[in-house]
């Protein structure tokens, strides 16, 4: 069954962080779910502090993005790493887009990731860019 995907309604805050990464806070049209966290686990490291009054999570994907937010919240903070901001500018939107496709979405997004990584490797040169 295909569900309606979560959409970004607006970006409410943008700032450049000390390390040069770009932080954007997005407002979504529906709250983030546990299912979204399960989806994120396919693509990077998810930390989930479930015992808190508002269950906090963070997502870390080297060279791509980091995400901070709360399950059940419509606001989410996404930080785009400095080196490849142009290549990963759509990555969070792609996560939202492919989440509702389930397994096929994972496969498709992994494919997109590979093409982004190829561009990263070209930019870094032959000896770098192997970390996942």
């Amino acid at each position: 069954m295909r569900w309606r995907r979560v959409r970004v309604l607006k970006s409410v805050q943008t700032k450049v962080c000390v390390d040069g990464s770009l932080m954007k806070e997005f407002v979504l049209d529906e709250p983030l779910s546990e299912g979204f966290l399960k989806f994120l686990e396919q693509f990077g490291t998810v930390r989930h502090l479930e015992q808190l009054k508002k269950p906090y999570f963070s997502f870390e994907k080297e060279h791509f993005v980091s995400i901070k937010g709360f399950v059940g919240d419509c606001n989410v903070e996404v930080r785009y790493k400095k080196e490849f901001q142009d290549l990963v500018a759509d990555y969070f939107h792609l996560l939202l887009y492919y989440e509702r496709e389930g397994g096929p979405g994972i496969t498709k997004l992994k494919g997109v990731e590979e093409s982004i990584r190829d561009k990263m490797k070209i930019r870094l040169g032959p000896s770098d860019g192997n970390s996942r």
């Binding site: 000390v18 502090l49 479930e50 015992q51 808190l52 009054k53 508002k54 906090y56 963070s58 901070k68 709360f70 919240d73 606001n75 903070e77």
Partner: protein
């Protein structure tokens, strides 16, 4: 007392007062409104009768508050950073040859960056003195003194460690050795009693928006000897306008352009507020809140406290297993508790205390309550417990 910002319905526990105090006293807000309701009293320019001369009134109030002899030697600026830039660059402009300057590891970037910029330009060489047990001593400064040392710039209170520095012996040593001494009082002005008549510093820097309860965009400095610093800004003063050379009399020498009248009005009202409360009462209440907060957190093994007994109401710590940034995010978004995280613009302090990764800082004002402190401590312990499980 519950503090509810006007654009939200949730009460906020604001613990970022070392950055900017909030809320502001009602009389500050009223004074700013009063200032804006009437035409500004402008020195040397046509002006309406019966309105308050805020710059003069605020200079007089500052002179009484800090026990300074010359109200006209108080200069208004945008901030402590602005003051430090004017003083440091103005001092260098007065020197024809490069010289040696001393600063400390406790400093804010508002001191470090101007000095490093000038060092990079070959205008001075710089020694940075270490702190021990959260303090920089005269002994350490003396170790760094050279025959060509002409400038010492030092904080009065650390914005990370909350430690008060004993500036009087340093001021006395500098005064008797032809060394200009600039004190950065950003964290102490309004927070503790300060008697400038007993501290022979060349210049004392303050900011308006912290413990003096003024608006952001206000600050200044007190300068003992106007000849020691060259003016680095020139412009309209409303006086001696035919002369294209900038006036050298005080305070015009360092104040070009239209003053920040509403900001200066807020500063005046902030000083009056502290005087009405009593400086000692303000200090004791804030210290009491810091002590309570430390007592609440000190037994939690997941919390690393960097300020076990601060002189100023500043408490810095980290939660095991969490970046300070993440912890601050959770406290703000899940608990409406506003802290400050990261390096606090004092990178050398963090190299010493937390390996340069940064920490969470909470800082109190007279408007915080014991209930707020207890609520915040419970929330922090919950986050620590959750991160450790």
């Amino acid at each position: 007392m519950k503090h509810v910002p006007e654009n939200t319905s949730s009460p906020v526990i604001y613990l970022n007062n070392a950055a900017t105090t909030w809320p502001k006293p009602p009389e500050v807000i009223e004074e700013v409104a009063r200032c804006l309701r009437a035409p500004f009293f402008e020195h040397g320019r046509s002006t309406a009768g019966g309105v308050t001369d805020y710059p003069s009134a605020a200079r007089d109030a500052l002179a009484v508050f800090f026990h300074a002899e010359e109200p006209g030697h108080f200069i208004f600026t945008q901030s402590a950073t602005d003051s430090l830039n004017l003083l440091i660059h103005g001092f260098v402009k007065n020197r024809k040859t490069p010289f040696h300057a001393i600063t400390t590891e406790l400093e804010h970037n508002s001191v470090l960056r101007p000095l490093h910029t000038l060092e990079g330009e070959g205008r001075l060489t710089l020694s940075t003195v270490p702190f021990h047990d959260d303090r920089v001593t005269l002994q350490e400064i003396k170790k760094a003194i050279r025959s060509d040392t002409r400038l010492v710039v030092m904080t009065h209170g650390s914005n990370v460690l909350g430690s008060l520095q004993n500036i009087r012996p340093v001021a006395e040593y500098c005064a008797s050795n032809d060394i200009f001494f600039i004190v950065d009082g950003a964290q102490t002005a309004g927070q503790i009693p300060i008697n400038l008549s007993e501290i022979p510093a060349g210049a004392f820097v303050f900011t308006g928006h912290k413990a003096l309860f003024g608006l952001p965009g206000t600050g200044g400095f007190y300068l003992q000897d106007p000849e020691a610093i060259a003016s680095t800004r020139q412009g309209g003063t409303g006086t001696d306008s035919r002369d294209l050379a900038h006036p050298q009399d005080m305070p015009q020498k360092f104040e070009a352009g239209t003053p920040n009248y509403p900001g200066i009005a807020s500063l005046l009202a902030g000083i009056r507020f502290i005087e009405r409360q009593g400086q000692d009462a303000v200090m004791n209440k804030c210290r009491g809140l810091a002590t309570l907060f430390i007592r609440e957190l000190t037994r939690d093994p997941a919390i690393t406290l960097y300020t076990p007994a601060p002189d100023l109401p500043v408490v810095s710590f980290n939660i095991g297993g969490l970046d300070s940034d993440e912890a601050g995010f959770i406290l703000a978004r899940a608990n409406n508790i506003i802290t400050r995280t990261g390096l606090h613009c004092a990178p050398l302090v963090h190299e010493r205390i937390d390996g340069g990764k940064g920490c969470i800082r909470v800082s109190f004002s007279v408007f915080n309550t014991r209930e707020q402190i207890e609520t915040a401590a419970v929330a922090i312990r919950e986050v620590a417990e959750s991160a450790g499980s």
